[in-house]
Amino acid sequence: MLTVYAARERLRRREVSAVELTRAFLERIHALNPRLNAYLTVADETALAMAGDADARMARGEDTPLLGVPIAIKDVLSTRDMRTTAGSKILANYTPSWDATAVARLRAMGAVFLGKLNCDEFAMGSSTENSAFGPTRNPWDETRVPGGSSGGSAAAVAADLCCAALGTDTGGSIRQPAALCGVTGLKNSYGRVSRYGLIAFASSLDTVGALTKDARDAAIMLRAMEGRDPLDSTSVEVEPIDVASLDQSRDSLRGLRVGVPAEYFGDGMQPDVAQRVREAIAHLQALGASVREVNLPRTHLGLPVYYIIAPAEASANLARFDGVKYGLRVQGRDLIATYMETRGAGFGAEVKRRIMLGTYALSAGYYDAYYIRAQKVRTLIKRDFEQAFSHVDIIAAPVSPTTAFPLGAKIDDPIQMYLADVFTLPVSLAGICGISIPCGFDRDGLPVGLQLIGPAFGEQRVLEVAHVFQQTTDFHLQKPKWHGQPRSS
């Protein structure tokens, strides 16, 4: 397991060159990706050229926290001259002419891009089964889903197919796959990282972040991407993450006030998931934190609110896919027919479902009853968190009610699939931050995630608590057992 931090240390000490490191990752990807389908594009030539540039920069004495470090990028983020599909047939041959701002900042720091990672189509889903290019498989059990929508990112990090991966989280799409694949995933507060160049799903909810092997790497990646961007008017300048202070945090959480919401431990929970999360909270207490119950009474309303607001925004955002300027075109008898045939053929089942749901919620006669009402309840959900954070510093809860489920188990039942995100949706609606970190395993040996939730722009504290947890546990260091090792490892 090679973290961003460890890779950088080895590169700095000249134990390995960026080209050697990149070549080793590419070999491992070619050996394992046919089984996992985590990568949609493996950019061998580009990666080796970027690694060569990084080695040259190091030879000139340059140093950045990411110089020469091989990473990979969820395929909803634009990458200059590198195919970007959003997991959709409609963009199967799309190659952007610009980088997303998050990508550009990592490129400027000398990170090496190994390729693009699989995801649910337009980031809509909780299992990566909605990808037009086939599902990603969970490295812990290849008959199970990796979660979603950043399932390729989570699987690639879990299987050591990159040092870290970019993902996006609109309703849980970083945290839930991180939990199901046993990696660390930070969903940033809305506005902390620019959304420019992210192929938009739900613009009031979309966030860009990283899936990593530990909390320190999560801090390094956030520090590299965060901050105001003139190209995104909703991006915000905040106090930057202080990565060095993580290492100064002692193995103690004395004085920390942790809230535990009873609403996150209700019916429908897999018993050993609830058990592992309660043990993790007991561990925080053993480290000196004080634990008290908090109330988040609208938790159950997160799902209906989200599935009105997000599809409504998606139906507007996805109107741009019209077969004119880019992407697939299916020619019809006139322009309207061309739009309809193109979109009918180019979008998958879940994307069409959400576009229609959003179109309905925004249509005359239903706008007030569904869309405005959902926005009002969103206000109540946000207030619940504000109220809770007046008593506690951080909230500890499960990430998802279950561990990784079998491929195909929920694909025909949208509501069952949506319930996988019931504990991540409220944080997204409130625009606050949350991290998923590994906190144990279920009876089948599948990873369980602990969600640590902070207030808006409270990432520093969330990362510090996650880091102390990881300094005193080894769940994040455990790796899937490979049945039938690939030749190259």
Binding site: N93, Y94, T95, S97, Y190, G191, S204, P230, S233, T234, V236, L301, P304, V305, Y307, I308, S315, A319, D322, G323, V324, K325, Y326, G327, L328, R329, Q331, G332, D334, L335, I336, T338, Y339, M340, R343, G344, A345, A349, K352, R353, I355, M356, L357, T359, Y360, S363, A369, Y370, I372, R373, A374, K376, V377, T379, L380, K382, P414, I415, A430, G431
Partner: protein
Amino acid sequence: MLTVAEVERIARLARLALREDEQARYARQLSAILDYAAQLAELDVEGIPPTATVLAVHSVMREGDEVVAGLPRADALRNAPDTDGASFVVPATFDDE
């Protein structure tokens, strides 16, 4: 319960061509999701302001207005399904050309 006719109307608004089996399936699935969302109707939200964005900032002014190079034409056209080398080519909008 949404009817197939209602699904057809929504699909038309959304510019989506659906097959017959899709229409029937979506009528069932969209109805189930809307039934689930019906619990929102039971809440008292009198006087609660809607949240369109969680940020406190509104109507951000653009920072300066410097002249910068735009997207080169070749880049704008590189992903187009059909071009004549200078413009996007699309089917006629009106019947009588």
